[in-house]
């Protein structure tokens, strides 16, 4: 095998699978299912944002939905006011990135870490949730947009072809855009993690002081990673609003934040592929359970989470790569091929 292929096998595999899904799913699925899959893809982008800052930066953000919700609202407000979705996408990423940078600056430069970061971020998302929830009055307007409080903002325009507001994207186009966005985010993060920045970030997760003794500004690395995570979560929020045409304060809810953490725990913290699988799997399970009346969906989801924490604490991806794949490969190597067996029989 060519050394380039060997060292990039997982990247190539993900790329091939991604392109196959991008092309194959719209042909294989009916429109309703494709819409559902698009939502899973958006959630996978959201999962990647936390996977990057928690799994690689070691920053446990309990209130990640703050960035998701801010991106979603930023898109809704700006696209209704502007009319074209091109600039709102940028705003939807920039605002959460700025919030993350400001929040991160005060947390990391004040040497706040671990559980306190979790508590602060959780508080921030609760503040957003309560503030946006109480904007039902007619005086709460930004330009032409009435924030709507707990009722949210309806009739948010979908994405359009850049700088052409009349060319609005259909459901199948939305799927393609979301898939391409997911692949760009995934490969972008993989590239970032292979660079010196990524190496230092992982080292910061292992021991911040050690990294500083070597001459790196650990706090700056955390701040940059946190801001990138915020921007990606904002992108997910933007796509979510464009997908559904509606946004409400539940985007900021603690349940939403907890869900992202569950996706990561199920998929595997410390990987990028795992959280995407976790997001798709749990979202599919939630949607499937929501369509039946026999069992309470939350009970099942709680049981699934407990089972993963107790039985597969590392999550799906590490189990597959560290245990199942080596076992499978050793089985393949030890199993004699049909040709060799038949040759033996003849002799």
């Amino acid at each position: 095998m060519h050394p380039f292929v060997r060292s990039n096998a997982s990247l190539i595999a993900v790329g091939v699978i991604g392109i196959a899904l991008l092309v194959g799913l719209p042909l294989a699925l009916e429109l309703f299912t494709l819409l559902r899959v698009t939502l899973f893809v958006i959630f996978a982008i959201l999962a990647l944002s936390l996977a990057f800052i928690w799994g690689y930066g070691g920053i446990l953000c309990f209130g990640h939905s703050a960035f998701f919700g801010l991106g979603a609202y930023a898109y809704a407000v700006s696209v209704i006011n502007v009319g074209d979705s091109t600039l709102p996408i940028v705003i939807a990423m920039a605002l959460p990135a700025l919030l993350a940078a400001a929040l991160g600056y005060f947390m990391f430069y004040a040497r706040i870490s671990d559980v306190y970061v979790g508590v602060i971020t959780l508080t921030v998302t609760l503040i957003f949730y309560n503030v946006v929830n109480s904007t039902a009055g007619p005086q709460y307007r930004i330009g032409d947009v009435h924030l709507g409080g707990f009722n949210g903002i309806p009739n948010v325009p979908s994405l359009n072809v850049p700088f052409d507001p009349n060319a609005v994207l259909g459901p199948q186009d939305m799927f393609w855009v979301c898939m391409v966005a997911l692949m760009l985010v995934y490969f972008g993060l993989r590239m970032l993690l292979r660079m010196r920045f990524g190496r230092v970030l992982i080292a910061v997760r292992e021991n911040e002081s050690r990294v500083e003794f070597l001459g790196y500004d650990a706090r700056l690395h955390k701040l940059i990673a946190f801001s990138i995570g915020g921007a990606i979560a904002g992108l997910a929020g933007c796509l979510f609003t464009a997908w559904g045409g509606f946004i409400s304060p539940t985007a900021f809810s603690v349940v939403q934040s907890a869900q992202i953490i569950i996706w990561l725990m199920v998929g595997g913290v410390g990987t990028l592929i795992g959280p995407m699988i976790g997001a798709a799997l749990i979202s599919w399970l939630t949607a499937s359970l929501g369509s039946q009346q026999t069992v309470d969906a939350n009970v099942v989801l709680g049981t699934v989470l407990l089972a993963f924490v107790l039985l597969v604490p590392k999550g799906i991806a590490p189990i597959v790569t560290d245990q199942l794949m080596p076992w499978f490969l050793s089985m393949c190597r030890s199993k004699p091929s049909v040709a060799s067996v038949s040759r033996k029989d003849k002799t």
């Binding site: 010196r196 230092v200 080292a203 292992e206 021991n207 003794f213 500004d217």
Partner: protein
Amino acid sequence: MLNVDNIYAGYGRIPVLSGISFTVTDHQVVGVLGHNGMGKTTLLKTLIGQISLTSGAIRFDEADMSRKSSFLRARAGIGYVPQGRSIFPNLTVLDNLRMGFVPASGYPEEQAIKGILAQFPRLDSIIDRAGGALSGGEQQILALARCLCGRPKLLLLDEPTEGIQPSIVDEILEILIRLHRDHGLAIIVVEQNLEFIRRLSDRVLVIEKGVITGEISPLALEETPELGGYVSTE
């Protein structure tokens, strides 16, 4: 090179260093001796900036380092190898070495790593192994090599021989003597191994209850057996 002027430092409200002053000139190796809990490690942590000064001043190459962050002190040329090795166990030996290379230093990374591997040939054969899979001695050598990747002018070593087999202690000692002799590396070494400190140091400071109570020549360590009382006995 380093001027430590009447520094006070500690953990929260508990004072550990109570007015320490000394200087280290270019190319000098200074050993620090003292019982456990007298402030030797705290002194090194204060010099690298992990513990903040309560008062006093630290000047390195004429620049005031007293309030600077650890990473700025490291970039200025102070290298620190903490007690217990402190390598990155999940990174390979090569990646650990890469971590020690600071881009701001102005010379190519590969060249720096090649140079370090020439000085530490033991690491060459285990370059792809995870840091956590190495023996204690190999980890110590890796920690030292990683620190030297950043080309420090002053090296702070906290008990480099602790828990390491004698053959590797000799290897580390030879490397440090060579670095000092050939490259003029200045070193402050906190150590319990009297033979190690005697062979490496130009001068030895004795620290008691956070204060430097005396200075002795390395030869005196050999001639005065009662100085053995300044180190822990196993």
